[in-house]
């Protein structure tokens, strides 16, 4: 290679680095200190929410409101109905939801047909809807990856009269009763609120914390994170949020937490949107820094994080949903649709705040599972 090209390339490299870092003061990046936080552009978690409500403002109904009589069950068992699962992704949460739905469909005599996951790809989900409709399912349990494109993608299912039960979100413009049967989801606000209260109580209502949040427009995490922030600000005015940093790739939380600890070495608490691998990465950064002071609260059951809490590490609480119950609720909502009963527009499962003393119960209530052996071992039982 000739020298001008190498020098030019090196110049471009350095210029790029300078340009990208040099404009930090005016850039739209997430702020890392509270003063700039006020001036910065709004983030995906700056939502003025104070309670759980559906994507279209629906009022929540507890899952306990979904009940089927013996006559309903007998009718379903005799009907030869079937249901498909078209999930947005694959995860421990989805597995637990599916397990709950499968068990309930089994009880109701509804056959489970196709199961697919779209890997968060809207076009893949559209293809999977077409594939599923070929087998003429009575119901589809799903989470629309992209509400806008899903409006078109699910239209053939609506036309065919398939009963759609959505997890957490609906396609844009869809109306309950005519287009879909029900939305079933976590009590997202309660989850974020519980997380804030757990962290606030562990700090005795004072100190400084950092927030590491999922920085993409995604209804579930945005609502939970916003509820955390709003609750922390309203219920714990003496706790200062000194750092906020978003991530879109959860494998980067180690680097983010390390940088946050570099700038705020006396941080009393941290919140991260979800456990795997988000909180795992944060714990790694805390261990590397030899930090046993900073308390961590996160969302969702994850074995390594539960081990840390069981061993008395940085994790003081994990707030989880009732994934298995969610699945059962979705199956019941589908049964409502098949039977022609009016289902709740927005059915929610409660939140669980799991601490070291309630780990075993937490696994049972959240995942309908017993404590894994490694977590049990960490508990010293």
């Amino acid at each position: 290679m000739n020298k001008p090209s190498t020098l030019a390339a090196a110049s471009v490299l350095v210029a790029a680095a300078i340009a990208l870092t040099g404009c930090s003061a005016a850039g739209p990046g997430t702020p890392t200190d509270s003063s700039s936080a006020k001036a910065a552009q709004k983030t995906v978690i700056d939502l003025p929410i104070t309670k759980t409500e559906g994507p279209n403002g629906e009022a929540p109904t507890p899952l306990s409101g979904l009940t089927l009589s013996d006559a309903d069950v007998a009718k379903l068992q005799a009907g030869g109905y079937s249901a498909d699962f078209l999930w947005h992704t694959s995860s421990q949460f989805v597995q637990a939801v599916q397990a709950g739905a499968t068990a309930e469909f089994g009880r109701l005599g509804i056959k489970v047909g196709l199961t697919a996951n779209a890997n968060m790809n809207a076009s893949t989900q559209a293809n999977q809807i077409q594939t599923a409709l070929a087998s003429k399912p009575s119901a589809i349990l799903t989470l629309p990856v992209d509400p806008d494109s899903a409006a078109q993608a699910f239209q053939p299912a609506v036309k065919d009269g398939v009963k759609l039960v959505f997890l957490s979100n609906t396609p844009t413009g869809y109306k309950q009763g005519t287009d879909y049967t029900s939305i079933v989801t976590d009590d997202l606000y309660a989850m974020g609120k519980d997380a804030a209260e757990q962290l606030g109580k562990s700090l005795n209502g004072k100190g400084s914390i950092g927030v590491i949040y999922y920085n993409a427009k995604y209804y579930v995490t945005n609502e939970r994170d916003a509820a955390f922030l709003n609750t922390m600000k309203s219920e714990f005015p003496k706790i200062k949020i000194v750092a906020e940093q978003g991530f879109s790739d959860a494998t980067t939380t180690t680097a983010i937490a390390s940088a946050m600890l570099t700038q705020h070495p006396n941080l009393d608490g941290m919140y991260v949107s979800y456990a795997q691998p988000g909180a795992e990465g944060v714990l790694s950064a805390l261990r590397t820094a030899g930090d046993t002071h900073t308390k961590l609260v996160t969302l969702d059951v994850d074995d390594p994080v539960m081990v840390d809490m069981a061993q008395g590490g940085n994790t003081v609480a994990v707030v989880a949903d009732q994934a298995y119950s969610l699945g059962k609720g979705m199956a019941d909502a589908a049964a409502y649709g098949i039977l022609g009963k009016k289902a709740p527009a927005f059915a929610v499962a409660g939140a669980l705040a799991i601490t070291k003393g309630t780990i075993a119960q937490g696994y049972q209530d959240s995942l309908h599972a017993s404590v894994p052996s490694t977590v049990q071992k960490a508990l010293g039982k």
């Binding site: 790029a16 300078i18 850039g27 940093q245 790739d249 390390s258 790694s284 081990v307």
Partner: protein
Amino acid sequence: MTDTRIEPTTPHIPAMRRVGAAVNQYFALLALALIFVVMAILLGHKGFLMPQNLLNIVLQTTPITIMAIGAVFVLSTAEIDLSIGAVVALSALVGATYIGRYGLVVGVFAGLATGAAAGLINGLLITKLRLPSFLVTLGMMGLITGLSQWYTNLEAVPVLNRTFNGIFGSGSVFGVSSLIIWTGVAILVAHYVYRHTRTGAHVLAAGDNTRAARVSGIKVDRIRIGVMVLSGVLAALAGLLYTGRLHGASYTLGSTDQLTVIAAAVIGGTRLFGGKGSVVGAFIGSLIFGMLNNGLILAGFTNAQQQIAQGIIIVIAIALTLREARSS
């Protein structure tokens, strides 16, 4: 004649050529130094220069460095391994599971053997069926990713073995982090093999001119299988290092690493088309990405902006490699 007439009027050209050659040779090091200076000036007040922060950069890039060493050997034979990120996750999960059941030694062996097996399959498909490594390892990436998700049903596997966690990520020897030791040992051993042994010479020869290498008696296919196995083993080691640092393994480990790894090797002076490489350069390349990532986070940039910066560097690195290949 011509030279004697021109030389007195342009005496600076040979000197500039020497400077240009030096810039070529030490491009990665110069880039690292320049990025360091820029970061130090702009982010010094935000903790960039704190010893713990600089140490964090090295610690966090250890798995990338380990894998980039494997990439140097693979790229030097004019092959590519896109399955390394997937191997990281599967090896980590297998290792973590077996550590829980049978202890440290069996677990580590099982993890490394998983990586070796993946590399062996890659190597055999490339050499025996004469398939392009790009397509073979792309396919293996999907296969191994699926295996990782299936193996533990998407659940993370915690590791309680303190000895393992200490040796593979969280511990230290006389105050020196085990990750630093892994980085140093891997670089020293790999650099020696690559530069000072017959094996290293054969690797370079196999990639530089395959026909000439065969004629001179070098078992090219064996070399290719060997580098793919090495790449798999080093990806597995990276997986174990992630596991030790996180005290657990999950199917998401390494999922976004392969592009950074290959880019680190290339920006460190390893040619994409074989015949040239540098183990130390790969280390510097991974430090560049680690430092840039760290600096951009400290500056408060989003992940999207970090990816833009990484993309710029990758494009420059590939442009440099392609121009060099054409000119040679």
